[in-house]
C-alpha cells in the first residue's frame, strides 16, 4: 500500500502576537515618539509611558545553530527573550529597562557581533543568494557583503553619515537585491554563449524568444538541430534568456563585470522614491574580496560624507549638486554609457539652461 501522505495545513503567514514582546502587544498602535540614545540603540516611548530600548545587531544573515544559540543565549541572559529582524537582516533585541542596554551591547560585542546600523549609518548590505544557492548568479552575494562590511564596519557602528545609507548587491541584472543609495550589481558585457546541442531538449524556445527585452533572439536550426540564435548587434547582454534556457550561458569568468549605481531611495521623505543611476561599470568580479568594488564604494561614501548636508540621502545630495559635480568630486569617468537609451530616455536629458559652473 502506498504511504499515506500528510495533508498540509495551509496556515499561511503566522500571527506575530504569539512571538511579540509583551510591551509591544500592550502598546500596539499607541506609541508617542522615539530617539536614538547612541548608535545601534533605538528608544521608543509609548503614550502609556512604557519604554522600549532596541539594540540592533549586524549578522551574516545566514545563521546556523551555533550562531542562533549564541545570539539567543545572549538575548535570554541579558534581554527579554523577544527578537525582531529588520528588512536588512539586522537582529533586534528589545528590553524595557535602560539598565539592560549596556550589558546587552557588551555581550554582543564580546561575541563578535557589531551593534549599529541605526540612523545616519551605513547599515547592513541587503543581499541575495549568489554562488551559494542561486541557479543564475554572475557573482557571489554573501562574500561581497562580508568583504564590504569588513571595510565599512566603522560606519555601521557609528552614525556619522549625512543620512542613512542603504547598500544593495545583486548577482544578476534582474537586480533582486533592489534599489539602493549605492547598488553593486552584476553587468554582463558579452552576449550569451549558446550550447546548441542542448537548446532543443532543455529550453521552451518560444518562451525564450519572448523573454528577450530587445527581440534579439530568434529560432534557428544549427548543425541540423533546432536551436536559438542571438543577433549580437542587438543583444544588450542582460542575461534575461539564461534563466529559462541555461544553455544560453551568460556568465563568464572574465566578461561578467560589476557596475555601481547610486541614488535609489524607497522612502517618500522629501523627494518621491527614486531609482538608482549608473555611475561606474567594467569593475572586475574579483573574488574573494572584490577590492576594486570596495575602493569605489568607499570613495563615493567619502565624498558623500564630506559634501552632503544633514538629512540628504545620496540621491537628494546629487539632486542638489548636480551630476557633473558628482563625477568631478568622485573622479569617476563619465562615458557614453551613462546616457540612457532605453524607452522614455529623452526625459532623462537636460532640456534647459540649468547648468552649474
Amino acid at each position: 500500500m502506498a504511504e499515506q501522505h500528510r495533508q498540509p495545513i495551509e496556515s499561511g503567514t503566522p500571527d506575530p502576537f504569539q512571538y511579540m514582546h509583551p510591551t509591544f502587544i500592550k502598546n500596539f498602535g499607541n506609541w508617542a515618539y522615539h530617539d536614538r540614545p547612541r548608535p545601534g540603540v533605538l528608544h521608543h516611548v509609548a503614550k502609556s509611558g512604557d519604554e522600549v530600548w532596541t539594540v540592533r545587531v549586524g549578522t551574516q544573515r545566514q545563521l546556523g545553530p551555533y550562531e542562533i544559540n549564541l545570539l539567543c543565549d545572549i538575548v535570554d541572559k541579558f534581554g527579554d527573550g523577544h527578537v525582531h529582524f529588520t528588512i536588512r537582516s539586522n537582529f533586534e533585541v528589545m528590553v524595557t529597562e535602560e539598565s539592560k542596554v549596556e550589558p546587552l551591547i557588551k555581550a554582543f560585542e564580546e561575541a563578535g557581533y557589531p551593534v549599529g546600523g541605526t540612523g545616519p549609518s551605513v547599515t547592513m548590505i541587503s543581499h541575495t543568494q549568489g554562488w551559494l544557492h542561486c541557479d543564475i548568479p554572475g557573482t557571489d552575494a554573501s562574500g561581497v557583503v562580508k568583504a564590504l562590511m569588513d571595510e565599512l564596519h566603522d560606519e555601521f557602528i557609528s552614525e556619522r553619515m549625512p543620512n542613512r545609507v542603504h547598500i544593495t548587491t545583486s548577482c544578476c541584472q534582474i537586480n533582486c537585491g533592489g534599489q539602493g543609495d549605492i547598488a553593486i550589481n552584476v553587468q554582463h558585457t558579452k552576449p550569451p554563449k549558446i550550447n546548441h546541442s542542448l537548446v532543443a531538449n532543455v529550453c521552451e524556445r518560444p518562451s525564450v524568444v519572448a523573454r528577450c527585452p530587445v527581440a534579439a533572439i530568434r529560432p534557428a536550426i544549427v548543425n541540423g538541430k533546432p536551436s536559438l540564435e542571438v543577433d549580437e548587434k542587438k543583444c544588450i547582454c542582460c542575461g534575461a534568456c539564461f534563466p529559462p534556457c541555461p544553455p544560453m550561458q551568460i556568465n563568464d569568468a572574465e566578461f561578467t563585470k560589476l557596475a555601481i549605481w547610486v541614488g535609489g531611495k524607497h522612502s517618500n521623505a522629501r523627494s518621491k522614491p527614486s531609482f538608482h543611476k549608473l555611475v561606474a561599470a567594467g569593475i572586475p568580479n574579483n573574488a574573494p574580496r572584490w577590492p576594486e568594488v570596495a575602493e569605489i564604494v568607499k570613495n563615493i561614501l567619502h565624498v558623500y560624507k564630506e559634501d552632503a548636508r544633514d538629512w540628504e540621502r545620496v540621491g537628494d545630495w546629487i539632486d542638489r549638486i548636480g551630476w557633473p559635480r558628482f563625477f568631478e568630486l568622485t573622479e569617476l569617468p563619465f562615458t557614453k554609457f551613462h546616457i540612457e537609451d532605453w524607452r522614455g530616455s529623452r526625459r532623462t536629458l537636460n532640456a534647459s539652461t540649468h547648468i552649474r559652473f
Binding site: S11, P14, Q62, G64, T86, A111, P137, A240, H266, S267
Partner: protein, 438 residues
C-alpha cells in the same frame, strides 16, 4: 582577543572535534573571508561542516563554493521538488559540477534545496521559537537558515529532496507554512509598524495576513502569469520598499492635519537653534508647507502637506501623523526584468481601514487585481508590465476603479488621442463629485 573564544563569531572547534567523516577540501579563497571584523558566513559554513549529520553535505558545499570562487561561475540548476499537496515553495538545487566521468565533483551536496517559509508578519520571534526552528532544521537539513530572503521568506538552505517533506511536516505541525516560489502570490512583508513605531498609520500585520492568507491557494499552487507580491508599510517612509518591490503596495497614511506639539517645537528650536530648524526641517519640506513663526512655533499648511514624513522623522517628539488613518494603494512595482524597473502607481489615494467592511473592501480590491492579472497578463509579465502594455485606463476599467487625478504626476502632454466621448467622461466626473457631496 575574544573574552571567551568558544562564544565568539570566529570560533571553530578544534579539528579533533569534527564529527563529519569527509575531510575538508582546501578553500584558500573562502578562507580569506574569515578575517575582518564582520561575522563570517564562511566560518559558519565550516562549523556546519563539522557536524555529525549533514556535515559531509556542508564539506562538499564548501568545496563547490570554493570552486565557484576560483572559476567565477555558479554551478546550481533548478528542477522540480515539492511537498505533498503543494506545487511551490521550494527552490530545488542540483549540482551541475561534474567530473570527467559525469559524476558530481561534490556528491554530498548534489541535492541542496531551499525551503521558503513565511515569517510571522513583522518578523517577530521568541528565542524559543528560533531555537525550535533551528533544531528542526538541524534534524532534516544543513542547519543553515537565512533571516530573511529578499522576498521576505525565512530560507532553510540545504537539504535533500526526501527531507524537504519531513522538515515541512514537522514545522507545519507547529504553525509554519511554505512561502511562494514561481508564478504565484508570493510571501508578503510588513514593517514592525504599530508594534513599536509611533509613525505607524495602519495595522500592518493585520493587512499583511488578511491579504496574503486570503491567497494561500494562489501561493501554494503556482498558476498565475508570473509572481505577485504584497508588501505593507505603516507610513510613507516605506521601510518595506513596497513601491519599488511589490505588485500591490499598501502604505499607511492620514488625511487630517498632522499633529504639532508646539511646546515640543519650541524646545526643539531652543535645543538645536533656528538655523538648524530652517535648514533641516522648514526648507526641506517638498511643498513649502512649513513656516517657523517668530515665537518659534510651527505653522503647517496641511492642505499642501504631501505626507512625505521628513519633518516628522526629524522632530519625532514634536510632530506626528494625524489621527484619521488609512492607506494608499499603489500597484505595479517590480525590478528590472523585462521592460526595466517600474514603481507602483497610485490606484487608491486613500482607503479607510477601520470596520470589517473596510478590510473586506481591501481584500476585494486585491482579488479584482489578481483576477484581472491572471486573465490579462502575458506569460512572465508582472502587473507593472501589463499596465504599461495596456495603459492605466484599461487596467482601471478592468478592476472597476474610477480615474483620479492623484494617479498622475501631470495630465497628458500629447494631443494625439481620440476624445469624441469627452462630454460623457466629463459628466461621469461631475456625477461622482455630486455623489461625493451627497
Amino acid at each position: 582577543m575574544p573574552k571567551d573564544p568558544k562564544l565568539h563569531a570566529t570560533y571553530l572547534p578544534p579539528m579533533e572535534e569534527k564529527e563529519s567523516s569527509k575531510p575538508f577540501h582546501p578553500t584558500p579563497n573562502l578562507d580569506e573571508l574569515e578575517t575582518g571584523p564582520w561575522p563570517s558566513f564562511v566560518t559558519g559554513l565550516k562549523r556546519l561542516a563539522m557536524q555529525k549529520d549533514y556535515g559531509n553535505m556542508m564539506v562538499d558545499l564548501l568545496g563547490q563554493l570554493e570552486h565557484s570562487y576560483k572559476t567565477r561561475l555558479g554551478y546550481w540548476k533548478g528542477g522540480t521538488v515539492s511537498v505533498f499537496g503543494y506545487g511551490g515553495g521550494i527552490i530545488p538545487r542540483f549540482t551541475e559540477l561534474m567530473d570527467s566521468t559525469g559524476k558530481p565533483m561534490f556528491p554530498e551536496c548534489k541535492e541542496f534545496h531551499t525551503l521558503r517559509v513565511q515569517p510571522p508578519a513583522g518578523n517577530h520571534y521568541t528565542t524559543d521559537m528560533l531555537r525550535q526552528l533551528s533544531n528542526s532544521w538541524s534534524k532534516y537539513g544543513s542547519g543553515l537558515i537565512a533571516f530573511h530572503g529578499q522576498t521576505g521568506n525565512i530560507m532553510f538552505i540545504g537539504t535533500t529532496t526526501e527531507n524537504t517533506q519531513h522538515f515541512f511536516d514537522e514545522i507545519n505541525d507547529y504553525g509554519w507554512d511554505l512561502g511562494g516560489a514561481g508564478p504565484c502570490v508570493r510571501t508578503g512583508m510588513s514593517c514592525i509598524g504599530a508594534a513599536r513605531c509611533e509613525q505607524s498609520c495602519a495595522n500592518e500585520q493585520k493587512i499583511h495576513r488578511l491579504l496574503v492568507n486570503n491567497f494561500q491557494d494562489d501561493m501554494h499552487r503556482p498558476a498565475l502569469p508570473y509572481k505577485f507580491k504584497f508588501k505593507v508599510s505603516g507610513c510613507p517612509n516605506d521601510c518595506q520598499n513596497s513601491i519599488h518591490r511589490s505588485d500591490f503596495a499598501v502604505i499607511g497614511t492620514w488625511r487630517d492635519d498632522m499633529k504639532v506639539d508646539q511646546a515640543e517645537v519650541k524646545k526643539f528650536v531652543e535645543a538645536k537653534g533656528r538655523k538648524y530648524v530652517v535648514d533641516n526641517v522648514i526648507s526641506r519640506c517638498p511643498t513649502n508647507a512649513l513656516s517657523l513663526n517668530d515665537d518659534d512655533t510651527l505653522d503647517v499648511d496641511n492642505r499642501n502637506c504631501v505626507r512625505c514624513m521628513h519633518c516628522i522623522n526629524v522632530m519625532t517628539k514634536a510632530l506626528s501623523p494625524g489621527d484619521d488613518h488609512g492607506v494608499t494603494i499603489l500597484i505595479g512595482g517590480k525590478r528590472t526584468l523585462k521592460i526595466g524597473d517600474t514603481m507602483g502607481t497610485v490606484i487608491v489615494p486613500f482607503m479607510k481601514l477601520e470596520s470589517d467592511e473596510d478590510y473586506e473592501k481591501l481584500v476585494e480590491m486585491a482579488e479584482e487585481t489578481i483576477d484581472f492579472f491572471a486573465e490579462n497578463a502575458l506569460e512572465h509579465e508582472r502587473t507593472g508590465e501589463m499596465i504599461e502594455r495596456i495603459g492605466l485606463v484599461n487596467f482601471l476599467e478592468g478592476i472597476g476603479v474610477d480615474v483620479d487625478p492623484h494617479m498622475i504626476n501631470h495630465p497628458r502632454e500629447i494631443s494625439y488621442v481620440r476624445m469624441d466621448d469627452w462630454d460623457i467622461e466629463a459628466e461621469k466626473w461631475n456625477q461622482r463629485k455630486a455623489e461625493a457631496a451627497g
